[in-house]
Symmetry: C2
Subunit: 138 residues, 2 copies
DNA sequence: TTAATATCCTACCAAAACGGTAGGGATAAT
DNA sequence: ATTATCCCTACCGTTTTGGTAGGATATTAA
């Protein structure tokens, strides 16, 4: 399951997606509108910035903006930055690989199936973008 | 990510799958062969029994056996019993549903995408069985 | 140059989940 | 009665989660 933090990240990014191309949006603004604890959100947005998805501006008139078009930010990237691996096991993770102990990867059947599951999930998460999670009418 | 406990469960079940139709297998046997801490494994096998996947026999000559054919136990079920929800968010979980706060499910775009992701993952995990994770030669 | 407005940084904290361990009780076979 | 096995309850240290607190730093505007 995704952490609450990741859900907050999605909501915040969806909010910023709506204001893409406009003035920077303050943390406090997003916090209120999306009902996300302010200081926690500060942390989240800062991480997203370090991951190169956001740009920030300090002082009056400051805030956050998406660095690239919402169409170019896919859901897998967001999850990886805030939540970590998408794969079900470390030994099949593309971005957070870790060898498992007492397991021969060449013959491990569990691993084989988890690769198939991973690819099925990634096919969706890497294709869908922030544009796909914007709040829609009806 | 799946917990270590879930990985242990898969290994233990794969072991039992090999001995399906034969004498009961002792916890201690599985513990040694699969390198799983004994007391922890006790706990795991007992949970799988309560979930109706295993049968047990006490006393000499006792142990655990799969209750049904390895072909009939799919990976999704194992994960749900030991690890919990497969979906990425509680509000899209089929077996562990929880409403999310401050979110209108009808219009929430995040939810829509997470349903698609969930279905892609489930299509694999519900189709693959214990038979598919047995250790293979080459 | 000073005040106001933002983000940024470090540190802390409580509660829950994870990954076990300990010790004995119940039951079945010999 | 003894031995072998699963079963049950309770505990426990470490890590992760979901925050909070307080101030440092940068920008703008008066």
């Amino acid at each position: 399951m995704l952490s609450k933090k990741t859900q907050y990240a999605f909501r915040a990014l969806a909010h910023l997606a709506v204001y893409y191309g406009k003035e920077p949006v303050r943390i406090s603004e997003i916090s209120i509108q999306q009902k996300i604890p302010l200081k926690f959100l500060e942390n989240i947005l800062n991480e997203l910035k370090k991951a190169d998805m956001l740009e920030s501006k300090k002082g009056k008139g400051g805030g956050y903006v998406l660095k690239v078009s919402p169409k170019k930010i896919n859901l897998a990237k967001v999850i990886r930055v805030i939540n970590g691996p998408i794969a079900l096991l470390p030994c099949v993770s593309l971005n957070f690989y870790e060898k498992c102990i007492d397991c021969d990867e060449a013959t491990c059947g569990i691993r084989k199936m988890m690769i198939v599951a991973r690819d099925a999930t990634l096919k969706v998460l890497e294709k869908k973008t922030l544009n796909d999670i914007l709040f829609t009418e009806s």
